[in-house]
């Protein structure tokens, strides 16, 4: 029996720690792969400490967790004391039930319910933005409170209620009796509650996802939004550091406890002394954390410098990793040098156009600059969500190629400045796929490669692959058109390995999948990281998607001139080239594509793919780019998408 339970415990521990061990190992991987180990290196740790945005997200996560856990511990402990004294049965039952609600409700409902309320109230008061650090703090306090109360309440019930009474009879004021007698008795419950609240807040993703505001991105949200490029071992490095910090804290905690136990065994008097000492240590720790928390909050809310809130796709700007230019930081420095004033750029990310639109249109957030794709720009213009630009502040607009002016979404060039453009192509692993099969969209429907094919996990792009294949209009409002595309996607479903966005990197690089349609720029990122037995190739099918992503200023903008200065900066040669080199997307900026150094670095193959020779970009673009669809059609597509997904 003894050995059996030891073996069983071993198996369970292996199950619990297997992914953590893997994460530890791959954080030291030389290559970018998360599944093929190629040698030891500390590169990812170096990368991590260069990634200002991620470190900022770590800081935000800590600020939030410290503030939320402290406030909920104080309020929760007070509430527990009150509930414990409550003699009215019905009142008590009501409070118990209410306390249980956030624990019984799934996170997604708690998140949605708070989001709906914040947005509604925000609208009512005409606030430019209803979600912010504060709404997130409120949400975190709300879901932490019940855990604190449920930890403290039992300790209060176990306590001899005559103790505080005796103290008061002996002349203590109630307050003094509470702090001198009750608090030490219930301290273990308070500490456990605090730790639980801190843990829950630190790890929460779902509730934060629905209540996060602009300029305040926590680590879980940042990881979720890293969809344009893959989760790199950088994140594993971060997880490894977190792991060891926690381990050290736990060991320290255990040592202190053990020492106290050992000493207290010696004499009773010493035990008493020890008891009061651990108590003091506990109070000291909490006091220390409290002080740190206050400083954090002061630092956080005390910044009165100029702020610019930028909202962009995940990993869609040169951010200082891989020895690239940290664009945001460079802008901040340049601005201070030029204008003699400090500016702080709050940079947040989104995972899709729809995601960004949902947040902006609900009035939940307010940004000064967004970078959506063409069809989304058309939609936002339709709904008066964008402001006309003052081109006097953007002289560098002169670099923008004629080809990219006057496109359908902004025919008079009033609202937008193109950021990147591109074409969707098909990539395949030449070690699996016959060269002869690699033509047109048919490759994605080729039964020979069943189980090796990837499809977009986003309705518009997925439907478009079927529509291009069938030569249907991708911007049709005719239901029959979309129904036919759905039939095509259903026929493809048994062949599909996975519906992906960011997972594509990992899957194509490692050879897990062999065929996928994706953005040309990202193909090169994958080639750079492909495993030894993988040989990725790329081609354009006849009909395919052409897109432009452009910088524009939403109507909720708080500082338009600053946003325009930022746009102008992004267009100036040095940052524009650094940016184009980093993100690998084709650039409509002549200062970039006419730069010899940049073109040389790219190499012939990349030039051929990124800047394909075409008779007229405008003509192809007008024919094959996504247009904005009306709500009725969008809703219909969403319904069809669900149908595909229940299959």
């Amino acid at each position: 029996m003894k050995t059996a339970s030891k073996i069983y415990t071993g198996i369970i521990m292996l199950f619990l720690f297997a992914p953590i061990i893997i994460l530890l190992i791959f954080s030291f991987n030389e290559a970018k792969s998360l599944s093929v180990y190629s040698g030891f290196s500390l590169n990812w740790y170096k990368e991590l400490f260069k990634d200002a945005e991620t470190l900022n997200a770590v800081r935000n996560t800590l600020v939030l967790a410290v503030s939320a856990s402290l406030i909920s511990t104080v309020m929760g402990t007070a509430a527990a004391v009150g509930i414990n004294k409550l003699r009215n049965k019905y009142l008590r039952m009501t409070l118990d039930t209410v306390t249980n609600i956030p624990m019984i409700n799934p996170d997604i409902i708690t998140g949605i319910s708070l989001m709906l309320m914040f947005v509604f109230v925000g609208r009512l008061f005409g606030a430019a933005t209803s979600l912010s650090f504060w709404t997130m703090l409120i949400a975190h306090i709300t879901f932490c409170l019940p855990y604190v109360i449920l930890q403290v309440l039992p300790k209060l019930q176990q306590m001899d209620s005559s103790l505080p009474e005796a103290a008061m009879d002996l002349g203590c004021t109630p307050l003094r009796a509470f702090f001198k007698v009750e608090v030490p008795e219930i301290m273990p419950g308070i500490v456990t509650g605090l730790i639980m609240a801190f843990t829950l807040s630190l790890d929460d993703f779902v509730i934060s996802y629905f209540t996060s505001g602009n300029g305040f991105e926590t680590l879980p949200i940042r990881i979720y939004n890293m969809t344009k490029k893959t989760v790199t071992p950088k994140m594993y490095a971060l997880a490894t550091i977190i792991f060891f910090v926690i381990l050290a804290l736990l060991i320290l905690n255990n040592l202190v406890d053990d020492e106290a136990v050992a000493k207290s065994a010696k004499t009773k008097a010493a035990a008493k002394k020890e008891h009061s000492r651990t108590r003091k240590i506990a109070v000291g720790i909490i006091g220390g954390v409290l002080a740190v928390g206050c400083v954090f909050i002061l630092v956080f809310s005390g910044s009165r410098t100029l702020e610019l809130n930028v909202y962009n796709w995940g990993e869609y700007i040169s951010d200082g990793s891989d020895d690239s230019l940290d664009t945001v930081k460079a802008f901040e420095e340049w601005y201070e040098e030029t204008y003699g004033q400090k500016v702080k750029v709050n940079y947040s990310t989104y995972a899709s156009n729809e995601d960004m639109y949902a947040k902006l249109s609900s009035g939940a957030v307010s940004f000064d600059l967004v970078i959506p794709s063409d069809y989304m720009i058309a939609r936002m213009l339709n709904e008066d969500m964008l402001l006309p630009l003052d081109f006097d502040n953007i002289p560098n607009y002169k670099y923008i190629s004629e080809d990219f002016r006057g496109l359908y979404y902004d025919p008079d060039d009033i609202y937008t400045v193109p950021y990147t453009y591109g074409v969707i192509g098909i990539m395949y692993n030449a070690n699996v796929v016959d060269e002869a099969d690699a033509t047109g969209w048919e490759l994605l429907w080729n039964e020979k490669y069943a189980g090796d094919i990837l499809q977009f996990n986003n309705s518009r792009d997925a439907f478009a692959t079927a529509q291009y294949k069938l030569d249907l209009d991708i911007n049709s409002t005719d239901h029959a058109n979309w129904d036919r595309a759905l039939e095509e996607l259903k026929a493809q479903r048994p062949l599909v390995k996975s519906y992906v966005m960011d997972e594509i990197y990992n899957m194509m690089e490692s050879g897990e999948a062999a065929i996928a349609a994706y953005y040309a720029g990202d193909y090169f990122t994958m080639v750079d990281a492909q495993a030894e037995d993988v040989d990725l190739r790329f081609y354009y099918p006849d009909h395919t998607n052409y897109f432009v992503d452009a910088m524009c200023i939403p109507s909720c903008c708080q500082n338009k001139e600053l946003a325009e200065i930022f746009i102008n900066y992004m267009l100036s040669p040095e940052p524009a080239i650094a940016n184009a080199e980093y993100i690998y997307y084709a650039c409509p900026n002549s200062a970039v594509y006419e730069d010899e150094g940049y073109m040389e670095d790219l190499g012939e193959e990349a030039i051929a793919i990124l800047y394909p020779e075409m008779e007229s970009f405008r003509e192809l673009y007008n024919k094959y780019a996504y247009r904005n669809l009306d709500n009725e059609t969008l809703s219909y597509i969403n319904t069809l998408w669900e149908t595909l997904k229940i299959g």
């Binding site: 953590i20 009150g82 209410v98 956030p102 949902a358 996975s498 997972e503 969403n638």
Partner: protein
């Protein structure tokens, strides 16, 4: 003297309860009212039952074994979420119950170490943990690498319901162990000894003494695993390869599609169903423990 204390007490009571009561009404009760409000209104905030009826009546055609048939979209999605969540909960219980018992019978020091070990994964970021499972389970992943080097046939797990269940079990496993353990640790060992002395065998002790006494822990463990797993959307996206929707995906999808009212309706229905389930579970067990 007594009276003086109680009057002081009630002032303290009011002062301590007031912040929480205000907080709870504004940030727990009112938001739920908003869910209901959105669920029963259209985009112009006019009253409607349409969102609710859509959940129960929307159909789509699927091909199963070469036969086309009409199914209720959201009922199928909900059914699948429920099925996977229940399976995960049962596996957590079967795996977690023995380990909780083993820990509760270990020495005080060993107990502390093992509980700490079980809690450590909870501090690692949930998204990164799930991502790590993806690299283990995928076809060219670490698991198949190990199987291959042992000369065994590779297995295909990623993108199946099994992968989603593994993810759910892994992520919520500690939530099953901890409450069962804390009940068992407080259990009076003399009761077990007494039962043994009175001629009960091991199975009898487990069935008649340990299990009934641990029931409150089991119930709270089931709560803590079932609820998050029924509503997850990240696990199904990553480990399910995006091959199928769970109810959490449906809510998130409607939110992204900017269809807040229907998202609220799904959330509202999910909430009502869960509350009813939990109430029934509570009632069934409280009757059982009373007997």
């Amino acid at each position: 003297m007594r009276n003086k204390h109680t009057s002081r007490g009630s002032l303290v009571q009011r002062l301590t309860l007031a912040p929480y009561s205000v907080w709870a009404s504004f940030f727990i009760i009112v938001p739920l009212i908003f869910v209901a409000y959105y669920a029963f209104t259209d985009s112009e905030f006019n009253f409607t039952f349409e969102n609710i009826t859509r959940f129960f009546t929307a159909t789509s055609s699927v091909t199963e074994n070469g036969v086309d048939k009409e199914v209720h979209t959201y009922l199928v999605i909900f059914g699948r979420s429920l099925k996977l969540a229940v399976i995960s909960t049962i596996i957590c219980l079967i795996m977690g119950y023995p380990i909780a018992y083993i820990i509760s019978r270990a020495s005080a020091r060993a107990q502390k170490i093992m509980i700490t070990l079980i809690m450590i994964p909870m501090w690692m970021n949930f998204l990164i943990r799930t991502y790590a499972w993806m690299t283990i389970l995928q076809d060219t992943g670490i698991l198949n690498g190990i199987l291959e080097s042992l000369g065994l046939r590779p297995v295909h797990i990623i993108g199946t319901e099994a992968a989603v269940v593994i993810g759910m079990v892994y992520d919520y496993f500690p939530y099953m162990i901890l409450p069962i353990y804390s009940v068992m640790a407080k259990m009076d060992i003399r009761l077990i000894e007494a039962a043994r002395d009175l001629g009960c065998n091991s199975v009898g002790v487990l069935r008649r003494v340990i299990w009934p006494l641990s029931l409150p822990g089991v119930i709270s463990g089931i709560n803590m695993v079932l609820i998050p797993s029924i509503s997850t959307f990240y696990i199904s996206q990553k480990l399910g390869n995006g091959m199928f929707y769970l109810i959490g995906d449906a809510i998130e999808g409607q939110y992204i599609a900017n269809n807040l009212h229907f998202a609220a309706a799904i959330a509202f229905i999910l909430m009502v169903i869960l509350l009813v389930c939990m109430a029934l579970l509570q009632r069934a067990t409280s009757r059982k423990t009373a007997v």
